[in-house]
Symmetry: D2
Subunit: 346 residues, 4 copies
């Protein structure tokens, strides 16, 4: 267990959580924090008097004792900062979405592979107890064949100005699906609307098509009167309701479904065809460890052991590719965009 020195770029909304979690990992030293706003650095220093601060992130890249860089800045800056970090020989953990384009994502993946560095994307939900439990249920076939993934993620605010609501909120569901579902979507159709002149879309609906009969849908909205975070997953064996706002019982597994009876007499074919099966509901206890802690430990383990992260550059690229395609589809009122025609990762 060697000591790892980490530099963190960006101390705005998410940065303090990142610093707090890495600061609590024994073999990690958060060495330096950079941010363009001096007042945020003052805050950081009051909280962590021993950590160095700077308004110039180049100080991080040029510091030879820094092993890894965490980038928690607006998405438009991710590519330049991550590329510079990799080129300086640092391992990189970058906020989601990984980049503003899939081409940029591919470029970062290539750079990391060439230099044998860890490139990880902060798909935070993947590291929660709820999502890991749901993946277990899928992998162990408790759900059976997956029929659909349906998510609603709406609330009032915060309107973004540089990205539409898909890049802000749907990115969570795309990263969750990327981890949970057995395959990648082949096409997307999206619709949406802006309700503030000159601003990006604040409400959007995405449908994702997969080979076979799996379909996914995501509803995101910055202008909803209530907060909703609910996902339904339907399968041939069981169905899941995941409500992230429940303090406990976030994941409920329903022993419900349909049975299709193939041996029908010719006459009564319609009445006999489909049966409904309802059984118990079960809500498994979840690991309540803070996701960022689990994620931080995983990042460090990948660095130490040369492992590939669960949410690696490829996962980040897959998500960005769908965000790009969904935005294009939304601007053409639902036109189907095939995903393999979007830039392909090596």
């Amino acid at each position: 267990m060697t000591n790892i020195n980490i530099g963190i770029i960006g101390y705005g909304y998410w940065g303090p959580n990142i610093v707090r979690n890495f600061a609590e990992i024994p073999q990690v030293q958060v060495t330096i924090i950079s941010d363009l706003k001096p007042e945020l650095l003052t805050k950081a220093q009051a909280r962590y008097p021993t950590i160095q601060v700077t308004t110039n992130c180049r100080d991080i890249f040029t510091d030879p004792k820094i092993n890894a860089v965490v980038i928690a800045t607006p998405v438009s800056t991710h590519f330049d900062l991550a590329l510079a970090a990799l080129q300086a020989g640092k391992h990189v953990l970058v906020e989601k979405p990984m980049t503003v384009s899939s081409e940029q994502a591919i470029r970062l993946i290539e750079e990391a592979e060439k230099r044998n560095l860890v490139l990880m994307v902060d798909h935070t939900f993947v590291y929660t107890g709820a999502i890991r439990k749901m993946r277990d249920l899928v992998v162990t076939n408790a759900i059976g064949n997956i029929y659909y993934y349906d998510s609603v993620r709406v609330n009032l605010g915060l309107f973004q100005h540089d990205v539409n609501v898909i890049w802000d909120l749907a990115v969570h569901d795309l990263s969750i699906m990327n981890y949970i579902l057995p395959s990648q979507p082949y096409a997307v159709s999206a619709t949406g609307m802006s309700h503030v002149v000159g601003e990006p879309e604040n409400i959007a609906y995405l449908t994702l098509f997969f080979e076979g009969n799996l379909i996914a849908h995501i509803h995101v909205n910055w202008l909803a009167p209530v907060k909703v975070r609910r996902t339904l997953i339907g399968g041939s064996q069981r169905m899941i309701v995941y409500n992230d706002l429940e303090p406990s019982e976030k994941v409920k597994v329903y022993d419900k479904g349909i049975t299709v009876n193939g041996n029908n007499s010719a006459e009564k074919v319609y009445q006999m065809l489909i049966g409904y099966r309802t059984g118990d509901m079960w809500s498994p206890q979840l690991d309540m460890t803070e996701a960022l802690r689990t994620e931080g430990l995983h990042f460090i383990e990948c660095i130490e052991k040369g492992k590939r992260p669960i949410t690696d550059g490829q996962a980040g690229f897959q998500v960005v590719k769908i965000l790009e395609a969904a935005t294009e589809s939304m601007r053409t009122q639902g036109r189907l965009i095939e995903l393999d025609k979007v830039g392909v990762a090596a």
Copy 2:
């Protein structure tokens, strides 16, 4: 107040509710019930010994004392039965969806107008206290400009075999929107999937586009682990959450929204642009009269006074037109279908 004699065709799922409600209206006499299944007629007679029953619905059309006919049969039969009834000089109340095609709907509208007969469609929700209250809120401008209408209507079963889930469930939302919203949609994009080979789609998502910045979306699903009936309506002044499963407090009105500040200094444009406004929530008491009773009284009033029903043939046509277009869009994975290219009513 003259006495009105009513014949009812179809005593399956919905028919008994129709008979019960019309039987309780003083000036109405439910005279005859027809159904193809003798066992259902036996049930009807046990319950209502004085009502005549028949397996031949022509007995209703040829009976000169019958003033009006209610049609509660599968949708594929609506056109022939309604047309025959109108041609026999009877007023007609027909189950939703009105017909299987917009052409059929137009034909019925024309027949009714030619004969000066009432043609009404059973858009039941329009006659509930909740929906009428919501229309009041829209009409009195309490909501302001409407930004979106978003509905989720999912549960386990009952799978239909002759129509897809849009015709079975989205028809409710379309009839509600037809009543509540200030304009008609100009185009639809829909996606969906069937999870039983050879059966119609059991999950579907519809986006409806309106002139201006109003967008509507409907999610319907026969294969969900939980029952959800929830509609969000966003407006510039207030927002509504309508949860039909709540025993009380079905409609909640939120004094919430955004304010857009146009007088920005050049520098802080992004931070200043959008403000969030949150105030009280208010849940108005609703008229709890059974919708079918209100609807039955309205049908009788239209017959007696020669009035046009709220849910007239035109409303039925508008809904069928969207159902047709949505089905076509769904089969082409979200292709935008413009609604004025679908058959136009006189």
Copy 3:
């Protein structure tokens, strides 16, 4: 399987449900209905043209072909009617509460035993799927030692004039406890208040003490802004939340509790003593058969086979005894009333 002829006394609130359920049991013939109000009998006859009606309940007692009588009248009349029915040789199913005093209950038990007739009390909840599942969980020791039973049963209305809220609402919980819990309480302390001058108490709180460390509490209220029907049952192994207003998932079983660690070092005794155990939650599927149907079948089976009903006269007596004691305690602001000093059944 012989044919059983039943007479029903009282066609007010509950009577129609009783008639409907018995009418659907094959070997049962509802032969006659009596009620003091002719308008209710007119209703009954419209619904059931073949059933005889009368305003004189003596017609039932004197009819030799009647085997059993169901009494669904105000509680003050239960004793006289049940006694007359038993003396006429009829089996009896009587509404809850069984009688207005425990002495009356004992008298009925004695009369039924002397004549070898079935005497059953309509403790309806005992025949629901939820309560039967909860008893299974207790009997199979899934809950462990039971620590407490806590119930809230409140809503707005209907105020009774002849009995206080304990006799109207707490009777449900007492009958449920009588069925579920392994022992009888030995004392009760109750408090309450009337908010309408001259009327009985409309809010009340009962604590029941059992041998060992089991305690039960019931909160009943006719003047609550919301309807609540929730029971918590705590045990050494698991805990139950029973919410009767949930359309599904009425019963939730929590794998939660405390573990008491006896091997404490002297120093850290307090910190070490109690550990908290939390695990999965599980909501078993319930039999959704209407309780009155299950109960009716049980009554008939008891008559046919000479069996003792689950909710026999003794159960009815136990409940009445507690109602009496609770009312007495409430009027003395919580004074402890020992239950073995209340009239004892043979």
Copy 4:
């Protein structure tokens, strides 16, 4: 606005919240923190490098620049510490419950009055937006005459070893009632049980009697499978449901109630007597300022202006008096304890 130096005794569960809130008040300087556990002081110093720490609280009393002391230690130590602080001429804010006996509370009140010092008790809930809104509703007569206050406050853990569940949880409701209700209770009846041998009661039920027809009830439980924090307040004009676990809409005001009709004809007296009134529900927006901040500002204002705090020693005494009486009643299984026979404050 003079500068006020504050010393804080106790840096366990609640202390860090107190320090954080006082540290953010401009004219306040948190000067020193004391705790018996050095490891907690290490934590405090890491977080607040400029604040002095000590294991000897006498260092606070003897420091002449300290103006006020906040005591956040176990209740058994409150009296000695508060008395010492007052005798040293410091203003005092003491955790709830104020003391372990009403006699001690009186002694502190007398000491503070003699020395003209502020003595405030940390009845935190009184400073929340929800409780202040509810008091407004009572004071402005929106609720009418108050009929009952009913609270449920249950969850799993944390078992206390030195005080029973009444002193730990019911203290919140008693402090809320002390602030909201128009009068003081005259007697209490309580029941409860311990489920761990040798430990204090972990479940308890309190009924409080007031002059007129107001009754209050509190259910507290450390061994419940779910967390509940719900209070019902019934009045002659409106009723309130206060659910502290709701993220928004914590307070709902129901325009519901009964109307008593005095002009009854002799015959139909029962049917006519009571009418039910149901109207809209309204959930007012609440001030979401952290209670401890509002409370801290109030403490400082009282010191600066010589004002009497809302939650003064008298309020603390009233609460302790009821806690004492309730514990006595609980140990005698509900025996009514009259509150004016408990020690009286000057």
